[in-house]
């Protein structure tokens, strides 16, 4: 034996647990104007500082500052705000609906609404989003019918996905929103392939893809980055770092020693690290990456730093593994309140208008929920049982035909 100390196995642990005082001292919050904005076609070796900074636009006073200020039209900002407020109203109502036994499962995106809303407004209808289950604000920003969502969540006779899919795992091709699945990560590479196909065809469509920081541990993430880099695919690869993957803090995904944006460096891709609760910063960074992709500059990896303010899903109780009041201490604040404050600071919004927006959204959601309930909630109403057997193949084979007959449908 040498006289070195014996080996020990390192297992990461978060700084605080239930009952402790929340501590985000590891989350550095630089000034809103601290980051330079490189040219969208700068070569990757000149961008290697970017993954370690934090792109922000909104300062403490709600002003838009710095090189990344996208100088957006207030009307566009109000639309973004509406998508976020609508998302929150929808989440609140449908979470309740689950608690009332109207469906089997639900997930909210509370605190992360800026990510889908802002990116959705950068990408076009012809582009394709490969979402996670927490990117519903992407659809909200495109006025996807609330009733279709409610019917999907209730798996009722009017469910656009024909009763086949778990609640919230939407698919909305017309809206540039790829089919969701319950297994995490497995579509990250699809986005790269979709983008490669656009390049192959000589089109100008791009793809955007999302993955949770927890899921960056999957091989799918690393495979997608390799292909995106090798083929310079016109794709924006986004990590939503909301600090938690069910009960596991981001250190379990490898966030203790480095940033998730810095994963890009090993693949020769630009990596941007962005304040995910700052609608303007999310918009600006996405715009940068979209420009690069559309100009044949290839893929960008973006880490959106945010916080999952609610439980993982209706099956989760975050009070079991993190301080109950942690969300209130999150240093990057709340995305809805920050955009609202900005619009108010610009003289483009008021408390009264905000209240009116909130009640308008609540009312729209209430009306959709009622309409969906009139069709039926889970178990009260379902699509024709034949739908269970459709679309397994384009044309059913004898097995399906026989089994459908056996079930009498």
């Amino acid at each position: 034996m040498s006289n070195r100390p014996r080996l020990t196995l390192h297992v990461p642990v978060p700084k605080v647990r239930p009952g402790d005082r929340p501590d985000f001292s590891h989350v550095a919050v630089p000034a809103a104007d601290a980051m330079r904005r490189p040219d969208v076609l700068d070569a990757e070796p000149g961008l290697r500082d970017m993954p370690y900074g934090l792109i922000r636009v909104l300062d403490e006073g709600g002003r838009a500052v710095g090189a990344w200020n996208p100088r957006l039209d207030p009307a566009l900002l109000r639309r973004g705000l509406r998508a976020m407020v609508l998302t929150r109203a929808f989440d609140t109502r449908m979470f309740q609906a689950h608690r009332q036994g109207k469906t089997s499962f639900f997930m909210t995106s509370t605190g992360e609404e800026a990510l889908g809303a802002a990116t959705s407004m950068v990408l076009g209808r012809e582009d394709m989003c490969f979402p996670t289950y927490r990117i519903v604000s992407y659809l909200m920003a495109r006025d996807y019918p609330l009733l279709d969502m409610v019917n999907q969540i209730y798996s009722n006779a009017a469910d656009p996905l024909k009763g086949r899919q778990l609640p919230i795992l939407y698919s909305a091709r017309e809206y540039g929103f790829y089919s969701l699945s319950g297994n995490v990560g497995s579509r990250f590479g699809h986005a790269v392939g979709w983008a490669m196909a656009s390049a192959y065809k000589g089109d100008d469509r791009i793809a955007i893809s999302f993955i949770g920081e927890g899921t960056t541990a999957e091989g799918d993430f690393h495979e997608a980055l390799t292909f995106a880099s090798v083929y310079r695919a016109p794709v924006i690869l986004c990590i939503t770092n909301n600090q938690w993957a069910i009960s596991s803090f981001q250190g379990i995904a490898g966030g203790e020693e480095t940033t998730f944006a810095a994963r890009a460096i090993g693949y020769g891709l630009p990596g941007l690290r962005v304040d995910g609760n700052d609608f303007l910063a999310v918009h600006a960074a996405t715009q940068w990456a979209a420009e690069r992709a559309r100009s044949n500059g290839g893929a960008t990896l973006i880490e959106f730093v945010t916080y999952r303010a609610a439980g993982h899903s209706t099956s989760d109780d975050p009070g079991r593994y993190r301080p109950a009041d942690e969300a209130a201490h999150w240093p990057l604040g709340d995305p809805v309140l920050r955009l609202k404050a900005h619009l108010v600071a610009c003289g483009e919004w008021s408390e009264q208008q905000h209240e009116a927006l909130e009640s308008e959204c609540r009312e729209a959601v209430r009306a959709a929920a009622k309409q969906g309930e009139a069709v039926g909630t889970l178990g009260q109403s379902k699509p024709d049982t034949r739908e269970m057997f459709e679309d397994v193949y384009k044309q059913p084979d004898w097995r399906i035909v026989e089994q459908r007959r056996e079930l009498g449908c």
Binding site: V11, G182, E218, F389
Partner: protein, 337 residues
Amino acid sequence: MATMNMVRAINSALDVMLARDPDVLIFGEDVGYFGGVFRATDGLAEKHGLTRCFDAPISEGGIVATAIGMGAYGLRPVVEIQFADYILPAYDQLVSEAARLRYRSGGEFWSPITVRSPYGGGIFGGQTHSSSPEAIFAHVSGLKTVIPSNPFDAKGLLIAAIEDDDPVIFLEPKRIYNGPFDGRFDRPVGTWAQHPASEVPDGHYTVPLGKAATVRAGAAVTVLAYGTMVHVALSAVEESGIDAEVIDLRSIVPLDLDAILHSVRRTRRCVVVHEASRFAGFGGELSSLVQERCFYHLEAPIERVAGWDTPYPHAFERDYFVGPARIIAAMQRTLKG
């Protein structure tokens, strides 16, 4: 002795093995501080220490690959895959590595890992929280596949799996974690406390792998089942009044062929039941074995009752899930034959 549901029995098996063997360790997604999404590892990290039961990155391939490496070093890792539907990213590691390491190294290396995973439907979990993938493991030479149907067996089989020197896939029917669900969605599910198999010894014991249990003796027809379907079959037998013999296979690899043949040669009829979809399911193997070895004893064609050949559907779960009615109809067909 204590009264335990299946989750507690599994927790107790893990607790016993952590205490007994310093080479046993547990990891998987959310299994550490939180104790697992189904609470199977509740309290174990606190009791046995952070390096004995810890959280893993969301990487099923990584979990199984590192477990294999630890196993090759001499540990006995017990890993959890949060839902059996998510075991597929680890399939290559299980098939190409865990299953063949002993064989290809001429016995130089082996890895005695246990991979626990909740499986099966009946919880409105949709396509990715309901599937029954046992056949894809049974097909692989070098893997063992174990499926308990009650708390007593769950603990004894899990300890046997951990102590086994080969890699074991341990599939836990999550629908019966908290009570012996019998396929009747219109009635409340009883709790395990009313079931004799909820009496579980506190300490170490094993239920050997490869030994089926006759859970009901009968003379008219043999029903082969495992996991949740054991309870559905028993309920079908009770409702129909058919004097069926119900055999709980408990492990599908190794398979207790003697118990199966012995029963079918007496009853001369056989119904095979599983939740997994029918085509190329494990029922096909059971049916072939019985046909090959009991052909001259059989009075009727062997029947298979299984899930439909579709992905697991959300709204149609109760049309998909094999219930007592379909088992009764199959038993009746064999009795007419």
